[in-house]
Symmetry: C2
Subunit: 176 residues, 2 copies
């Protein structure tokens, strides 16, 4: 952590991270209201915020362990819990009933396992398994095309992405 920066500069990346969490949280409220496309849009906005916080922190030389922890916590809500509940509520509940709960829970739990493992490994040059931001962002994106994509695609994508999140193959990082 670089402590030479004034406090107002040091909190800037965390503001992006908290926006990520806030949008994920509001996405959940929109899902409850049945506004599924708006809820998906908020998750995509969260992904945008998530792609900014790390870049801003490195640019301002204010990367911190606190920022990393906050990032993981926000990611689980915005890209694990919010897309799982959105997909369940908008589709799986009607089509699969209780099996839909099991599917959605597996997605969220695998997301948490992935984040916990990645934090402990502390690797900065590549990802182990598919990042949760990609998995959750993808589920939100295909939600926008619900009128043309048949529902089993969502169930299959969800289970494949859950598996890929906890898998151990290496995925190169696109951004530095």
């Amino acid at each position: 952590m670089n402590n030479n920066n004034p406090i107002n500069v040091r909190i800037i990346p965390s503001l992006f991270t908290l926006s990520n969490l806030l949008f994920g949280f509001i996405s959940l409220l929109l899902t409850m209201d049945g506004k599924f496309k708006l809820a998906a849009g908020l998750i995509i906005l969260s992904a945008l915020m998530d792609s900014m916080d790390g870049k801003v922190a490195r640019k301002l030389s204010v990367s911190s362990d606190f920022g990393k922890e906050l990032d993981s916590l926000s990611d689980l809500v915005s890209f694990g819990v919010a897309p799982a509940i959105l997909t369940y509520q908008s589709m799986l509940q009607a089509q699969l009933g209780y099996w839909g709960i099991i599917l959605a829970s597996i997605f969220a739990l695998c997301g948490a396992i992935r984040l916990a493992r990645f934090n402990v490994l502390n690797i900065n040059t590549y990802f182990v398994g598919v990042p949760i931001t990609f998995a959750g962002g993808f589920m939100a994106l295909i939600q926008l095309f619900q009128h043309i994509i048949p529902w089993p695609v969502y169930a299959v994508c969800m289970i494949i992405l859950a598996f890929l999140m906890v898998s151990t193959f290496k995925v190169p990082k696109l951004s530095k």
Copy 2:
């Protein structure tokens, strides 16, 4: 981390932690269904699981950084996001409208800030600020008495607990 234990022993504490997350996740689904008391009960069950994982890990001598990370992630869902959305959906939405969203968001965001800070501080003998398990558990508990507690109490408790979570006073740990 103690690596001398067989893999099946090492994962036992994480099973409690994942149960904590699972119950928090299902609590969100129950809130969406309008089953508010059941949703509150699930959060209290999450708190029970949360009180077990650390104890079990220490008893089996299998405490790990992975377990700690997973614990924080689960806590944000079960004691930050789930109680905030439960209180909003069951009460604040009807009484406060958009202000209810702001209140609920502040609770969830303060919970995340608290968890991120506590993880970085890495203190084992006392808490800094009120633990999120207490804050979320308390909001779930008073939900069970909705018929006798007037709604402003929930709004006030929520904002006070949010503040106490990010405050910096020391709270002694009851369990070792």
